[in-house]
Amino acid sequence: MTFINYASREINCKIVYYGPGLCGKTTNLQHIFEATAPQSRGKLISLATETDRTLFFDFMPLELGTVRGFKTRFHLYTVPGQVFYDASRKLILKGVDGVVFVADSQEERMDANIESLYNLEENLKAQGYDLMKIPYVLQLNKRDLPNVIPAADLSAELMRREEPVVEAIASTGAGVFDTLKAVAKQVLTELRKS
């Protein structure tokens, strides 16, 4: 849910990275954190287990710059990908302005991608959102691995509408900012419409 503060001239928007366990949601945020100037971002908060699996969420505030005299700040969240953390995923989607679905391109993770995407649709619906209307980007991650499904096939299987599709290797940063840009652009365009 966008928050516009006319006094401090700030726009705050919430973007959630969604996807199956170990698809690279946290890695996306880690790359953005490392590649951004310290004055443009806050701390990267990770509520993770002792084995570094996301337990509740990762969070990072990012300031992109000024539009029409308003500072634009994006609050980036990830959800825990593991199936049994569904209650947490639902909570994190509350107030979302844009969603990135991070798909794992490896052949053996195809079923997990489909299940997670279905779960995203259901959980968005539970919060009153429609995946067909909300700002949304599909990221095909881990394109550097040997056993990946061709991008065209993966897109054909996972695309739900005319959403932007970005190929990425989050561990090296390839495609990470393109993904963020694609979703942020849609969020700001929505702001113009409303």
Partner: protein
């Protein structure tokens, strides 16, 4: 349905800051925040120092969301207040409509006093939320109606 966006006008922002400043004095606390349930910081008053207020706001919202989820599992609507007491610093959170009132206090105050003072300002904050919502339904022109594609692209250059 999702909540409508919060559009905070300058006058309302200063009104909120005044209420928070008074609460801070009356409760002898260190910092007082108003945050929405999605973790967006609306206003803050007090000895901030190097306190990371953005992260605190987000974590407080996550905390309320998680305990709210637990409440529903046991048949409660929500837990209207949450308190965390540390050795020196403590936090009290009150759920007020779609907002959270967060008070950070130390040994100069007590949980009882903070609870009492938070409860006393909650009706004022509720009235403010109503006003903020009302302004949003007015026909005021949004400054973002004229955002161009170039404006958006310039953010990423």
């Amino acid at each position: 349905m999702p909540d409508t966006p919060i559009l905070l006008q300058e006058r309302q922002y200063h009104q909120i800051k005044d209420v928070l400043a008074r609460l801070r004095t009356d409760s002898v606390s260190r910092v007082v925040f108003l945050v929405d349930k999605d973790g967006q910081e609306i206003a803050v008053q007090g000895e901030i120092g190097d306190l990371d207020t953005t992260s605190l706001a987000s974590l407080a919202a996550g905390n309320v969301a998680a305990t709210g989820g637990m409440a529903q599992l046991i048949g409660e609507k929500e837990f209207p207040t949450l308190s965390h007491e540390g050795e020196r610093e403590s936090i009290h959170i009150s759920v007020i409509g779609r907002l959270l009132l967060i008070v950070v206090f130390d040994e100069r105050s007590t949980l009882g006093l903070v609870k009492l003072r938070s409860r006393q300002v909650s009706h004022q904050i509720l009235a403010m939320i109503e006003e903020i919502t009302k302004v949003q339904t007015s026909s005021e022109e949004s400054p973002f109606a004229e955002i161009t594609d170039e404006d958006i692209d310039s953010l990423f250059n």
